[in-house]
């Protein structure tokens, strides 16, 4: 590994540049960014001293651009880290990001807030595509092309938590039942469509069924705050209809016309049972 080499022996210039090349390739393969071809780099300049990189192997032996904060220059000084360190300090990232000549943006070195913001914006955009009326809903392939599983996970856990908080007894069992019902239900529903000979992508369908829970999440929140049976009934009916309306085009377009009802019925069953749980948990 390059770490052990750079720790002990001063290398000559060509070996160091080879190591840089390899680390560049590793960087490029690890990142989830757009696939760009790495520009052909000239040999990295020979160095007087070899920096000791003691953090995980994706460490910047790459020559950093001139304006550097002092924290990153400390990395060049050999020191023993206190722990297996997470990605290098925050101040480094903005200067390393694509200079057109250097490496592609490294999602491991970017600020955490950037990562979270990117995922959040993807969740919001998927939500807008699936749950709210928009012109792309007619074409399922286009609608949820950028599927993710974070959104469904949040919605399922949120629903389980709402139900668990609403329950007066056996709270943990309620959460377990709700979570198991939704998670296993999504998988089984997708398998059902596949077994009926439909054409659907497994994870895209999981993602979709999770996003269609969003109206029921809102319903559960309202029901938790307002404990009147009649209000609960009306709210759950409205949100249930909304969820079914959101899920309908995707499922019905995936199967043969003669089997549409067979594919839609289990979706209906699952959402109705979740709606019943919301009403019934007191």
């Amino acid at each position: 590994m390059s770490n052990s080499y750079s720790d002990s022996i001063p290398l000559n210039a060509s070996s160091q540049s080879d190591i840089d090349e390899i680390e560049n390739l590793i960087n490029a393969s690890v990142q989830s960014g757009p696939a760009t071809v790495l520009p052909a780099r000239p040999l990295s300049p020979p160095r007087a001293s070899i920096p000791v990189s003691t953090s995980p192997f994706i460490q910047s032996n790459i020559p950093p651009p001139p304006p550097l904060s002092s924290s990153s220059s400390n990395q060049k000084v050999p020191y023993v880290p206190d722990a297996p360190t997470p990605p290098p300090p925050v101040g480094n990232s903005s200067s390393i990001l694509a200079t057109g000549f250097g490496p592609t943006p490294n999602t491991l070195t970017e600020p955490v807030w950037d990562t979270v913001k990117r995922d959040l914006s993807r969740i919001v955009s998927n939500l807008k595509l699936v749950v709210f009326p928009n012109p792309f809903r007619e074409d399922p392939g286009k609608a949820l092309r950028d599927w993710d599983l974070w959104g469904p996970f949040f919605f399922v856990v949120f629903l389980g938590l709402m139900l668990s908080w609403s329950a007066s007894v056996k709270k943990s069992e309620v959460f377990a039942v709700a979570f198991a019902l939704l998670a296993a239900g999504a998988v089984i529903l997708t398998l059902n469509v596949l077994l009926l000979g439909g054409h659907i992508i497994f994870f895209q369908s999981l993602s979709l069924l999770g996003y269609c829970l969003f109206p029921l999440d809102i319903g559960a929140l309202i029901c938790m705050l307002k404990d009147n049976v009649l209000v609960k009934l009306i709210v759950v009916c409205v949100t249930l209809a909304w969820s079914l309306w959101a899920a309908y085009p995707f499922i019905s377009s995936a199967v043969n016309l003669r089997r549409k009802a067979l594919a839609l019925y289990p979706v209906f069953l699952m959402y109705v049972s979740v709606g019943f749980l919301i009403i019934a948990i007191d």
Binding site: K170, L195, G197, L262, I281, D282
Partner: protein, 266 residues
């Protein structure tokens, strides 16, 4: 490939040029049907020549089985090859206990769709209506009780219904195989699955909080379902040498009905 770029060139006006052959790829994939390899000169067992046997043998009389392994979805799609009208037809025929022809109806194309979704619907219905019925019963006797949702009904319903629907047909299958009769597990699962469909509307009617009425309703439904199972099983076994099996299936179905009444609709 290269052909496409060459075909764009206008070369026909050039003397001696040959136009590129188009659609070469299509022809390459054309398969000659029924190619029999024979070594010339064909000799019938004489000399040192061997003629290869005709490759187009008659296949065995097994129905085409697309089993591609346990973890491949396409090997299970053969059990879900039904349309909506077929499922509804089978569902309605399961409501008629006298008939005994269910197996002949599903013989060509047994499906597991009915088993899975009828049992799941039954679990949900029992859990939800069971809670409602329990509440109504308590309200009937003591009008100050408040609604409480017992989530253990879901667990018990799931274990009970899924366990019954999976284990009982398997037990009958193995028993019949052991006794020499020719049984098919998928058809058993299919039939038992559809036999449970009577209990779904029954659960709705069982909401009425009058005890004697509940017993009458469940006995009627249980008898209908059990007759369905027993008569179909008898016509499948096609012999009176196993009356115990038929009686056992009847009793098991009745036991399930009584369990439903006692646990979910007290």
């Amino acid at each position: 490939m290269e052909q496409s770029s060459y075909s764009n060139l206008a070369t026909t006006h050039l003397l001696g040029s040959v136009p590129a052959v188009l659609n070469e790829e299509k022809k390459a994939s054309y398969e000659v049907p029924g190619a029999n390899m024979q070594i010339f000169p064909p000799s019938n067992g004489g000399g040192g020549y061997q003629t290869l046997g005709a490759p187009t043998e008659v296949f065995e009389q097994q129905p085409p089985n697309n089993w591609k392994g346990v973890f491949s979805i396409s090997s299970y799609t053969q059990y879900f090859n039904v349309d909506t009208d077929v499922v509804i037809n089978r569902l309605i025929s399961s409501f008629y206990p006298i008939g005994g022809d269910f197996f002949s109806k599903i013989d060509a194309n047994p499906d597991l769709y009915g088993l899975i979704w009828i049992t799941t619907t039954l679990v949900f219905v029992l859990a939800s209506f069971g809670n409602c019925a329990t509440y109504l019963t308590q309200k009937h006797s003591d009008s100050s009780t408040s609604w409480s949702f017992d989530v253990s009904y879901v667990n018990v319903a799931a274990c009970g219904v899924y366990g019954y629907a999976v284990v009982v047909p398997m037990a009958f299958y193995f028993l019949l195989r052991y006794l020499g009769s020719n049984a098919s597990l998928i058809r058993f699962w299919c039939m038992w699955g559809y036999s449970l469909s009577i209990f779904i509307p029954t659960a709705l009617i069982l909401l009425i909080p009058v005890e004697i009425l509940r017993w009458i309703i469940i006995l009627i439904a249980g008898t209908a379902s059990a007759c369905f199972v027993a008569l179909n099983l008898r016509s499948y076994i096609e012999g009176n040498d196993l009356p115990m099996m038929v009686v056992a299936s009847f009793l098991l179905q009745m036991a399930l009905a009584i369990f439903i009444k006692v646990w979910f609709f007290p």
